[in-house]
Assembly symmetry: D2
């Protein structure tokens, strides 16, 4: 039986607590938060759980093998690092840290100590995203583009721009679904509230192949949209996360290239060479599962079997590296920022 | 009675011919094309119309007051310039020319001679786009962003990239709907057919205010999308051109800013200051009109009353200037290209 | 402070318990159920609440002023009647009883004792249905028709047909939204599981005016649909309960009748007389409220101020009367069944 | 080369004329109409075609082998019968005649003379409806229900009710798609314009098996809907004719029945026995064809090879028989009308 603690009982913490409490093989021992009324709320619902406002208590408790961190991003590094140094496995909310440098240090520390470091990239545990990964690796053929729109009204944040709040989801999905890693990023965006970070932004991810990825995020849209297109050489996907059941549609569509070089003489000649192929569309059945529960189970499994989570510290680091570079690009009207290949610990 | 001729009876020419033939106050005299079978087709449908493969005949005919040009873009400049020099008014397909320099010369020539030079920016004559212009100038308040998605499968062209084929529509709509003119543009995109122009592209338009415009065009999408979001400080628009009747939806939504400076202490404090306002949505009734017919009538009216079409040569020039700069940016992974303010003829 | 108890902690009971526990001015004292594990679940979540499997305890407890009944329909009459006879106010799940005769007896008993008898017609407490009632009484003009489609896959029941499970919602909405009461009903339907009640059915409601109402319910549909059309002489409504935010759309559409008698000579003459009017569509903003919470508050308010709930016993009786007559009609391939006007207690 | 004539150049006639003119193997010789301006319009477009207002000319002309009839329904019988008696093959608009008795006489006459009698049930020549027939005969399993909604605003007619105008489409589709023939029909409906036929109606078709079909037609709806559900024991279809490309969606969904007899004890026990099966959805690719052109080609093919059209006179007769019975039922608030099995000519 693995013992766990949760630090942070604000917006997302209660979901973590509920899922841990409902998962067999793990015992939720302690919840830590600075606000007394939140601790009282925990106590009311989970009388057997210890509550505390002192994070050090968690670190000292030998029955606690793992800590889940659901505090504001600015505190992730400090809390996660001290947990690792105390020998605890760590499950941390996304984004893993506010900087790639900090993420790298957490990755290194976890590797050195042989501890599991998991990042809560929730979407990669959904049936829809898992299905996309499966299709990308098989039926779609070569991947041509990935285009995501993630817009709605609110919630404006004043410490980070919309890319840290919304694009982080797309970046973690791309990291999981697309085997190739981006080599550069650019971003443009605007703030419509004086003195505040960008509330609308567009990101381009560049790859060594002719794959292109693009992300549109917006806190000031009149309608909520969550729609991704993935174009492959053989098939294409439309993923609409707001569809109640048919979230993934796979189109047997594309172009076929025939003939040799285009002759002079214009459009007509060329159009003989690019043909359009249109077949069936299908929406594969997706199981209904709560992603967070499956994440917790995977985390426990990794602890017990010395495994690596699909969203490990390296994944968290890769996503933060892109966010950081995109933020720099945003300040320079879309100047292209090269991305470093992930460093390997020797 | 104004006498007109049409040159080019390929893809779009038949629509022009039909609309001119159906418009009172104008007489369709001659249709010119290089392919004999097309001329035979004209003769079959419009026995009273003269057909010719010799463009010079049109220029010499004193009964012809105006010429509509529906040939490939590469020939627009030569045909339009010789028509203007022969004293004919000109109605030319979009884009007006392949380069801003040529467009400028046509504009200058038309102005010097007092002739009408109209560009077929069809969308600016639709009820939906006219309604958006009306709303942008009134109920929407300050304009925050303009975001358009125009994607489908095909038709690949081999002489121009997707931005000359699809983004030209968005640029002409923006030119008409948004009073402010862009000061810079950037574009990224990829070709997925070796040796061919980009078939997917993303454009950013920058303005002096904090307005941002973005256009996504794609010839390789599994679904057809034609959806524009316009965000204003008071109201917002969703324009879906594929909706059969409710193309324009106006949302009484937005943010309200209250309170003074954000205090230190994070998210909670700030969220008191950005409020979210949600009111009714309405879809204004739009008249069903064929845009091209209304364009022809406007063109005739301008000839008779010495007027200026809403899509005149200057509009055509502005759109081509952006396309040209975007093409240069495309070759440099989205480097920002400054746009020259439109030159005024002294 | 009003004291309440809940009997039945199966499918719907937990929602009732949660809403009562969250409502100020009422104290949830006791939950009664026959299954010990359900009572344990209540105890886990609400340690202060008494649990029992003996309904008589509730009746004897003088601190309990009102009882909410969320048990299977077949037990509603017995539990509600004994509650009323013990002087308790009653809040009962829909349908109120399996027969009009029993409903009438509950209505009579409650009236005799001056107790509040409320039926959980949940939809009449939603923002969407309240908005429809408001529109029906004003902008729509004369009401021409009411057409509802309520279909999905499952859940098959074996004691009642689909009309008792799904059409009951539409009947309670019609009862609330449409001032005129039906005078007759017919129903057709089929069972596709041998020996089981109908899983697909169509109901017609007839009125003295030329209003017609129609309900399509189906447990065996491949997609979930919840869509109602209401036609009025001046405006019309489309109500789609599955829309996340624009559930109600009001169309300024209709016909205009002009001219005198139709002359002989056919269609052309007549079409001058029926004109079609098409104006704006609007989706009024709807507040997001949990209907059940607002029902509980209304129930308490009625107890305290001797008021009548919008869905009182009479409403429950009217709905059950239609269900009963429809069930008889179903067995006779749609024979029209006249409905008795609601009896008034002298 | 088959010679054809068309009588009636009003609403639908021009489509017929255009399709006949475009079809190889047939020569359009004559168009007949009573209105001179319509004949002038034909002459302008098709200078080689003879025009006349005298139907007898068509009957006398030996070069004319077949006549297409696109006049008002009330004249169909007279025109078709005289054409058949003159030895001409007949292609007649739907509905074939205003009464089953007249339809039967046409069927008999055509059979006696060995002439082709085709009815323009356009939908049975669309890719979508052909695909449905194919699926109904194979993957769907036993057919449980057919439910169609066909509503819009207008066009009101004053000589026939909405069922003759709109339900005729559904009846012809059902006749083609569903192998089993209905044994009885009932219909309810209302007129909202004094003295005029019903503008909203609901039809039930009863079959010997436990199949049920239902049709909702309405001239006074705020939105246009064209949606059919077909439930089968193995798969189910949603057919939305307004979808631009995915008109047919096939759901691998249904119920599975397991276990023996329902035990006493209610819902829980039974629910173990009805299981719900949910698999993929797919939208089969449909070819884009103009139905009317393919009808004309089939008609010619039947003439040349002594074949029977899919929508022959018998199909026209079956549809009119249902319309006639439904009209009688409409006048009696949905009284069930038995249908005669189609008479066979000895």
């Amino acid at each position: 039986m693995i013992g766990m603690a949760v630090v942070g009982y604000g917006y997302w913490g209660p979901n973590l607590v509920r899922n841990i409490a409902d998962t067999p093989g793990v015992q939720l021992l302690t919840v830590c938060d600075l606000q007394p009324e939140r601790l009282a709320s925990v106590k009311g619902r989970y009388p057997a759980v210890t509550v505390t406002s002192d994070y050090e208590e968690l670190l000292r408790d030998p029955r606690i093998h793992a800590i889940a961190i659901a505090t504001p991003v600015s505190s992730h590094f400090r809390l996660a690092m001290s947990a690792l140094m105390a020998g605890k496995h760590v499950f941390v909310e996304k984004p893993i840290t506010p900087s790639a440098e900090e993420a790298q240090r957490l990755v290194d520390e976890a590797e050195r100590r042989g501890l599991v470091l998991a990042v809560d990239h929730t979407f990669v545990h959904t049936s829809a995203v898992r299905k996309m990964r499966e299709l990308v690796g098989s039926e779609l053929g070569d991947i041509y583009y990935y285009d995501s729109v993630r817009v709605n009204l609110g919630l404006f944040q004043h410490d980070v721009s919309v890319i840290w709040d919304l694009a982080v989801h797309d970046l973690s999905i791309i990291d999981y679904v697309i085997p190739e890693k981006p080599v550069a990023v650019s971003a443009t965006g605007v703030s419509h509230v004086a003195g505040e970070p960008e509330n609308i932004a567009y990101l381009n991810l560049f790859f060594e192949s002719n794959l292109i990825a693009h992300i549109h995020v917006n806190w000031l849209a009149p309608v909520k949209l969550r729609r991704t297109l993935i174009g492959g050489s053989r098939q294409m996907i439309v993923y609409d996360d707001l569809e109640p059941s048919e979230k993934i549609k796979v189109y047997d569509k594309g172009i076929t290239l025939t003939g040799g070089q285009p002759l002079q003489g214009g459009k007509d000649v060329y159009q003989m060479m690019v043909g359009y192929r249109t077949g069936d569309m299908r929406a594969p059945h997706l199981d209904v599962v709560e992603a967070l529960g499956s994440e917790i189970r995977e985390f426990l499994h990794c602890i017990e079997h010395n495994g690596t989570p699909v969203a490990d510290g390296q994944a968290g680091l890769r996503v933060v590296s892109v966010l950081e570079a995109a933020t720099r690009s945003l300040a320079q009207r879309g100047r292209v920022m090269e991305l470093q290949p992930a460093r390997r610990v020797a």
